[in-house]
């Protein structure tokens, strides 16, 4: 075992040296990952907005290692982060990456895809992903350039090989991952990944922990998805899109469910009482403010999104 490990280190060292020729210095360092369940590796991103300091490393990303090959789940906010994640994969195993799974189209989860796009790796996402990403790609790239301070171009955007409308399984050898597409919630292309071998559930941005959820899909749809998820059994490890991991699904979903429920209650009441959007923005779910990071940055927009959704219900 020890000898084998050594060989992997030498091999991955060579790969890293090779890729360093194309990348800046930070690309050399493998991303810090920890094994949170057997063969399940996770890197926790910063609980902040993408900026020059965190360089777009703000989402939880990682990979699952099977006896045949590896599935990467989300790739971070730049190709550099993707390359560092790839270096972390190569440090842990010599098996190839056969799949990149994107939990939804947001830039902090997908702009590292290009690092994996030069081999036999297949890219998988939920139905709706490509339409949503294509429509927003230029603004995501502009935003990366402005806020992270990198040169971003369209080569960062990778078209998926397969989009899943409902549910699908993929085999990595000894383990099988179940991919489930959900109704419109955080976005219109949310995908969750379940590893039955370890009972690990990757929720992507269907779960925000500590950081305020952002609504880019449907408030009521999201609450429906939470209701369907929260009583799920045989889940041992839960990986949110943002924030610390945990083991108690219902408890982890609790604060998010409460925030979204308060938002729905207050915005509905504002609409029923005949108040406009600006009143709702100033008053809805204000009691949640102290419980969330980035509340002032995202909450007003969530109210606007909730209002324009609920006024037609």
């Amino acid at each position: 075992m020890r000898v084998w490990r050594l060989a992997v280190v030498v091999l991955s060292g060579a790969v890293v040296a090779l890729s360093a020729a194309f990348a800046d210095d930070s690309a050399k360092a493998a991303l810090a990952v920890s094994e949170r369940a057997s063969g399940v590796y996770v890197h926790e991103g910063a609980q902040a907005d993408a900026d020059r300091h965190n360089r777009g490393d703000i989402a939880n990303i990682g990979f699952v290692v099977g006896t045949r090959c590896v599935a990467v789940i989300d790739t971070g906010g730049t190709p550099t982060i993707g390359r560092r994640l790839k270096a972390a994969v190569e440090r842990e195993t010599n098996r190839p990456v056969c799949y990149v799974i994107n939990t939804h189209m947001h830039p902090d989860h997908v702009l590292g895809n290009r690092a994996f796009a030069d081999g036999d790796t297949r890219f998988i996402a939920a139905e709706g992903y490509w339409r949503a990403l294509s429509a927003r790609a230029s603004s995501y790239l502009d935003s990366a350039a402005n806020h992270i301070g990198v040169d971003a171009d369209e080569s960062w955007i990778v078209e998926p090989d397969r989009m899943i409308a409902d549910q699908a399984t993929i085999r990595l050898g000894d383990r099988t991952l179940t991919l489930t597409a959900h109704q419109r919630a955080h976005t219109d292309n949310d995908l969750t990944v379940f590893d039955s071998k370890t009972g690990t559930l990757w929720l992507g941005d269907l779960l925000f922990v500590d950081r305020v959820p952002s609504i880019d899909g449907s408030l009521t749809g999201w609450l429906d998805v939470i209701a369907a998820l929260e009583d799920r059994e045989n889940v041992d490890t839960i990986i949110p899109g943002h924030g610390p991991l945990g083991h108690d699904l219902k408890r982890m979903l609790g604060p998010e469910k409460r925030y979204l429920s308060h938002l729905r209650r207050d915005v509905r009441k504002a609409i029923d009482d005949g108040y406009g959007i600006d009143y709702a923005v100033a008053n809805a779910a204000r009691e949640e403010r102290d419980d969330w990071r980035l509340f002032d940055q995202y909450h007003p927009r969530n109210v606007t999104a909730a209002y324009t959704e609920l006024e037609w219900q």
Binding site: S143, E154, I277, R301, T308
Partner: protein, 283 residues
């Protein structure tokens, strides 16, 4: 303080920023100080007609910093209502730095209680929003408000456009107010994708063809409340608050027209509209 920079990360805010917020702000601020765009517009639309400060005639409420550039709520309040001064006959809404700045024009009829209106607009870049009114006097009156928001016209279409078409033309009429104690006004909601024609799919280079509401006529009984024409500056699912005369009798009828020559009609019988008013006065 919310900055545009913070908003764009996970949220898919679709803010098309071509420079950092501070640069964009200072660039636009310096051109706006000269109001170059407005000077050209002024000549084009209003010729030599004198334009004077209108803050005694109208109030324009708009956010300084918009939460969502594709949904910027604005309210225009008629200060001449219930006075002896000449009433507002026409009103123009101009968004200086939008692709088509002349955003909407309203004509008010005998069934309008006032020229007070509210709507939600798209703001493409930092800009003055201005309102001009014609009271039949020699001069036009104008007020303006600077709004910091960006990307509203190119923000991705909120829902699947084919899905949105299924509900196109559905309408609702309800009572709204801005704050407790304000008089309630009627609000018309129209389901329409209101596609600007500037929403490009960057990878396929496909531009969704423009498809937006370009005219709204509202009557109470046979009498005109208002007749409005507009560009794609109104947000998806356009909303329009208006102030119909309570005494005027008959149903509220609305006709909506779009640039693909679709027409949508809906009529609300007086008891529906009246019930909503009464419910409002009870609370």
């Amino acid at each position: 303080m919310l900055t545009i920079g913070i908003m764009a990360t996970c949220l898919a805010a679709a803010l098309t920023l071509h420079a950092g917020p501070s640069t964009a702000q200072s660039n636009i601020r310096s051109t706006d100080r000269a109001e170059v765009a407005w000077k050209a517009l002024r000549d084009e639309h209003f010729g030599d007609r004198p334009i004077v400060d209108g803050s005694d005639v109208i109030a324009l409420d708009a956010p300084d910093q918009a939460e969502d550039a594709a949904v910027v709520p604005i309210t225009i309040t008629d200060k001449r209502a219930d006075t002896d001064r000449p009433s507002i006959e026409r009103l123009w809404l101009v968004i200086d730095n939008n692709p088509v700045p002349m955003s909407a024009e309203f004509r008010f009829g005998p069934a309008a209680a006032s020229a007070t209106i509210g709507t939600r607009v798209r703001v493409n870049t930092y800009t003055y929003v201005r309102v001009l009114v014609d009271t039949g006097e020699d001069s036009l009156y104008m007020v303006k408000h600077y709004v910091r928001a960006a990307g509203g016209c190119s923000a991705p279409i909120g829902s699947d456009p084919t899905e949105a078409l299924k509900h196109m033309g559905e309408m609702r009429l309800r009572q709204v107010r801005r704050n407790a104690g304000d008089a309630a006004r009627s609000q018309l909601l129209i389901r329409h994708p209101n596609i600007t024609g500037l929403q490009m799919d960057q990878l396929t280079r496909h531009v969704w063809p423009a498809h937006f509401v370009d005219a709204i006529t509202i009557r109470k009984g046979d009498a005109l409340v208002l007749d409005a024409s507009m560009t794609f500056s109104l947000s998806e699912n356009p909303a329009l608050e208006f102030d119909a005369r309570r005494g005027a009798s008959g149903p509220i009828s609305v006709r909506v027209h779009d640039n693909k020559d679709n027409t949508f009609d809906k009529t609300w019988q007086p008891q529906t509209a009246q019930a909503a008013h009464e419910e409002e006065t009870d609370t």
